[in-house]
Symmetry: D2
Amino acid sequence: MVIAEIVVVPLGTGTSISKYVAQCHQVLDQWGLKYQLTPMSTIVEGPLDEIMEVVKKMHEVPFENGAHRVSTSIRIDDRRDKKITMEGKVSAVEEKKIK
Amino acid sequence: MVIAEIVVVPLGTGTSISKYVAQCHQVLDQWGLKYQLTPMSTIVEGPLDEIMEVVKKMHEVPFENGAHRVSTSIRIDDRRDKKITMEGKVSAVEEKKIK
Amino acid sequence: MVIAEIVVVPLGTGTSISKYVAQCHQVLDQWGLKYQLTPMSTIVEGPLDEIMEVVKKMHEVPFENGAHRVSTSIRIDDRRDKKITMEGKVSAVEEKKIK
Amino acid sequence: MVIAEIVVVPLGTGTSISKYVAQCHQVLDQWGLKYQLTPMSTIVEGPLDEIMEVVKKMHEVPFENGAHRVSTSIRIDDRRDKKITMEGKVSAVEEKKIK
């Protein structure tokens, strides 16, 4: 299980991209991967192979809607000495702030 | 006002970095910039000049705690045809998902 | 054919990571994908499916050498209104500087 | 002295962005910072304070040419146990490949 941040940006389609992000989330909903929307990205949690497959589908979304160029970024956090989760990573920071 | 994603990663200090993230947030608290922690980054909202200054201070945090190498990333989203906020960006996507 | 930038960073293994990058390039050499080393990343050119497969193999390199946490980033530039190459992208900028 | 990778991407201005990159390089030429163009980014070498100032100027380039939204990314590699240079980072990898 890894945590990955995904950003799909169409170029040349206008200043707003929220429409494409919403459609990318439909892909994630159909796939069933756990995800979280942030103001700058979508963060997913799951097996790396599945995430790589779903990213390829998300990357196609703007092309299917008329874009001619898409910039897609993925940043994978893979830790194997202990299990990581989206909630666990946030609470690990929050706990250290309280102390 | 821009929205920016910040990631500060010390190299060679161990597998856990939450301690450094918590200290970076103390810098943000002292500065008074609005921010949000996600499982993969810290997102801030404010004037670009201030964000660039605070990133320089956050970048020093791991060095002050013994790190010898730090990789810091900033991704700035600056839109000038309309005001953007962290909440507004998320709700723009959520609205399109409901429809 | 897309162009993609790949960065594989092990956490907690020391300040130098060039050893891991060199081994990641062995993976690329075996695969036969065209690539270019820069001071900040490795850039590859090829079919998206192949690139995603080879990134998964590159991501395993630090784990096979003792790392317990790896942060891997991929940024894909996919343009479908015209063919892009690594050389073509650089010369498109250089030409505009001469004029 | 740090090494930083800079990517300035205007949204909604068309599929080609090489024109903006060329103008960003004019900013770098005027400033006098050492830089290198790659197929996916511009890499600079210099003092962190100067780089942060020049990035702010590069970020303005697309706005000055009609863009209404710009996404600018900076990734800083700062190592303080030894001096790093753009050439040195590349050759450290190449040497390990020969062995």
